[in-house]
Amino acid sequence: MRHWIARQRYLIDYTVAAMARRKARNLGLLLVYALVVFVLASVLLYGHALRREAALLLAEAPEVVVQRLLAGRHELVDVNDLERLRGIRGVRRVEGRLWGYHYDPIASANYTFMVPPEGTVAPGTIHVGAALARTRGAEVGDVLAFRGVDDRLFPFQVAAVLSPDSAIVSADLVLLGESDYRAFFGIAPGRFTDIALTVANPREARTVAEKVLRALPGSRPILREEMRRTYAALFDWREGMVLVLLSGSMLAFAILAWDKAAGLSADERREIGILKAIGWDTGDVLGMKLWEGALLSLLAFLLGFALAYAHVFLLGAALLAPAMQGWAVLYPGFALIPAIDGLQLATLFFLTVVPYTSATLVPAWRAAITDPDQVMR
């Protein structure tokens, strides 16, 4: 074993010395290789972390949301609708949700106004999301005024700013009391935006949704599973778009790497011929080439992945966030919880390290089995 290790170290010594003779070319290849892995790994890590976070958070969303549609458009629900749904077996709780949008011309941004079900906000006060507070420069105790449905100004005192840690779900929220909400939007008592259902057995949500359709013809039940799938599809789509944009440069790199790995220069062929002439056997030459390919691709993979991890989870994915998150006046600032998908990692490894390493072997093997005299000529 010690003999084998010593032999491999001598092979690595020789390989590194041979690579150092073409220092600029090999270092350049290593850097570009690592950069390609860095970009690919950044996209995959960021997409996976966003998908996972969305899935974890939306696991707490209502099991079923019921909307009423009128002529294909969203319509307010009536308190009688809630009563009808309470009669469905398997439904534990039926709540009317009150929420809506308000455009604020001062910040040129849309806010989501919402009434908390527990009624925790006192009349005349609001709780605001962190991004909204930042955009309007509002702090606890300040008064924010918005124009309501009849163009009347409604002043609200900011009673609390929601934690920036939860900005991914609350950045643009304005939480207010029910009476303030109804007065602000001119919505009569007994009318709600939609209905949130709590189902006793979440596995029965689909059956409950079918019963909702029978109880309220013309309504549209949206299952929690569909909300989660919407976000999984959204991030898949964006990840795919970024990868498509990158595919041109990936292809260019693949051609460069293949050319470098699969074609031996005249110098390299002569070198193999000399090694054979002074007593190296084919196995030694292949071992040397294997080390060359493996060291280069492994270093590039590990370096690229570690840099991508630091970029996404320690530096907030500064290069990717605009493309993956989108744009908005109220931009939620949030830190993703680090997560690595083992399958993605393995795929990245097998797509970057294995092809390059194996591509270096075939031409070296061809040169190594040829007569040294012929190779050197």
Binding site: V65, P117, R206, R229, A232, L234, V329, P338
Partner: protein
Amino acid sequence: MRPSSVVLSFLVLVVTAFGGSLLHAGWHQWQGGALLAPTRALVRDLRLTDLVLFTEARYTRHPSQADRHTPFQDHPVALEHFPSGSLFGPPAHLTSHAPLDRPTALSD
């Protein structure tokens, strides 16, 4: 110093960085529930349904709650005009809603 020592030292360094990232992620996965707990509680308490990614239009702010064809309802022959709309696909319920759709009694 032997050339192999230099390269192997560098390799150990990047392997350590790689292993560190796996451990860091693993630790956060383990802690994940606790770190996200306040946000999950907010989603549960407020009955939230969507993430705040784009706030410029109702169908980008709440994609999972969007009306059917809502991007095209502003006026006849309206084309969807917010840039983020081109950055994500249609909500899942618009493309795979079959089990909840009722068959029509009359032919279209």
